[in-house]
Amino acid sequence: MGTFLKRHHWVTPLALLTPGILWLLVFYLYPAFQMFLASFWSGSLEKGFEFSLSNWVNYPNAISQFAPFYVRSIVYAAAATTTTFLIAYPLAYTIAFKGGRFKNLLLFLVVAPFFTSFLLRTLSWEIILADNGPILGPLKSIGIVPSEFRILATPMAVIAGITYNFLPFMTLPVYVALEKVDNRLVEAAKDLYAGPWRPGGLIAGVLIGGVLMGVLGMVFNAGPVMFAIVGAAFGGTVGWFLISESFIRITFPLSVSGVFAGGLLTFIPAIGDYVNAELLGDTQTYMIGNVIQNKFLTQNDYPIASALSFTMMAGVLVVVAIYAKVLGTEELSAAAARA
């Protein structure tokens, strides 16, 4: 037995890999191919489906009809990825550099929301952000916020929901990258007179804060200029006082790989998400995922639904392939292992 295994080096790895790889081939790869075939179907679930290459028109039909949903999905996912990054980066930074003996506790608290139901957490936001809920209710009774103002059923609510649900996916890879930063480099920079980043921090802060809040104001449909001024003031303050040269020149560049990993781990699932749009939004905020799930599970329109899904999958695969080619998959796997 031992000599047989030694003579045939390939036997052991083959035996180890076959069962699991087979499972993935049969239940991941083949179904994807089957979905590609289904996008060339015509017919219905009751009468049966028929495959024909002439049904390629499913693609232009599906895409022309639902293009706005794709655009909306990309916009929401991009917006949510940006806000996740802005919230997660300082959090990951604090855990990595100031966590001390609370490091593991803080990491645990970051993933703790995963220990309860994703649907229930999303529904909790429905309670928190309700029109007369614990946040808007008091604000309305004081009169800061007009009584017809609402967050639920707006794009804001959907983006906020996605941001919340994917925050740990951004925080962990950024943390993993920051933890590897050699602190001696930062100290060396400080020895070489790296101080606060001025006036760069002010300019960057004003620009980022102003543009982001301005966009937010436009989404809200409520005075983008006011929003932009508040954002610029806040961003400028943070940039002037808190951003150091050693951070911009050393720490941040060294953590960029983690930011990209987190960005991918947030953006890709966010593109396909439909739960946030359904529970926190309304029909005006539906994303491509809502269309796909509705076509598959309610209307049984498999051909069009498959064409829509396959288009999304192709787009996602292109993004992932470029990412893997340029940056490799190590960072992502490390983050997944950390979770």
Binding site: Y28, G289, S309
Partner: protein, 283 residues
């Protein structure tokens, strides 16, 4: 004026520095506290509303404290079946995925062979695919087969899906443990005439066991909470997340929050236990 100004700057400078340092030190800490509150706020709401005493069907407004739903956690029709089904699927899919994934991790980490890059991609891509696509493609496959045991959709189709999306996570988690593995120990064992079988079970396995347990915990939590893929592969079968989704339009029974709270407490307890156990035996 001129006499006072040096004194004033001398006094102002330390003050400004003190303020700057205070700002520098506390801003991040305050920020982190706020972020943690933000992360845990919905969990707190879930727990709080498990003690709510709603007037109507919808449990979305606080009406008053009661323990009556904790006393009757499985009151609503179908809830106990759904929870039991979720637990069953989570246990079986975790067992299968952990076994298959660990084998793949060993094969990929220990051996060199052609086509390894392709295998790595096959492991990686499911983690980077939106769940809705995995669910939809499994659904089209089951529908195109159109016959039992795959159609109509049932327990087995959910199980197949859960094992599928869990394998990659297990591989990645176990590989992380294997990567930092002291190979010298295995060589020492074989120098001492242990055959491969004995070396594996006496040396390798105990050392990678923490990685395997971590992988299994991850797989279990992913499986028990999965909604999107299950929604596509469950048909009329109802898991716990499917139950919540079905009730979300007509009002969620308070008992769902009770179960959600219990799952949270058990998961937190499990993680704490494994952490403590891990600390006691430092390797």
């Amino acid at each position: 004026m001129t006499a006072a100004s040096p004194a004033r700057t001398a006094a102002a400078r330390p003050a400004r520095q003190v303020i700057a340092r205070f700002f520098d030190h506390w801003s991040l800490i305050v920020y982190t506290l706020l972020a943690v509150i933000y992360l845990l706020l919905p969990v707190a709401v879930i727990i709080l509303f498990s003690f709510n005493n709603p007037a109507g069907k919808s449990n979305t407004v606080w009406q008053g404290f009661t323990l009556k739903y904790w006393a009757d956690p499985f009151g609503p029709l179908g809830l106990s079946d759904a929870v039991l089904l979720s637990i069953t699927i989570a246990i079986i899919s975790t067992a299968i995925a952990t076994a298959l994934g660990t084998l793949i991790a060993l094969g990929l980490e220990r051996y060199q062979f052609k086509g390894k890059g392709l295998m790595n991609s096959l492991i990686f891509i499911p983690m980077a695919t939106p769940e809705i696509i995995m669910g939809a493609s499994l659904l089209t496959m089951f529908v195109s087969i159109g016959a039992p045991p795959f159609f109509p959709l049932n327990f087995l189709t959910i199980l197949i899906a859960h094992v599928m999306f869990n394998i990659s996570y297990v591989v990645v988690t176990v590989r992380a443990r294997l990567a930092g593995f002291p190979r010298g120990l295995e060589e020492a064992a074989s120098d001492l005439y242990a055959n491969e079988w004995h070396t594996f079970w006496r040396v390798t396995f105990p050392l990678i066991l923490p990685g395997i347990i971590a992988a299994a915990l991850l797989a279990f939590s992913l499986s028990i909470d999965d909604f999107v893929i299950t929604n596509f592969t469950a048909g009329k079968t109802q898991t716990f997340p499917m139950f919540i989704y079905a009730k979300s339009r007509i009002g969620i029974p308070v008992q769902v929050n009770v179960i959600g709270t219990c799952i949270f407490l058990v998961a937190v307890g499990g993680v704490l236990l494994t952490t403590i156990a891990g600390r006691r035996k430092p390797r």
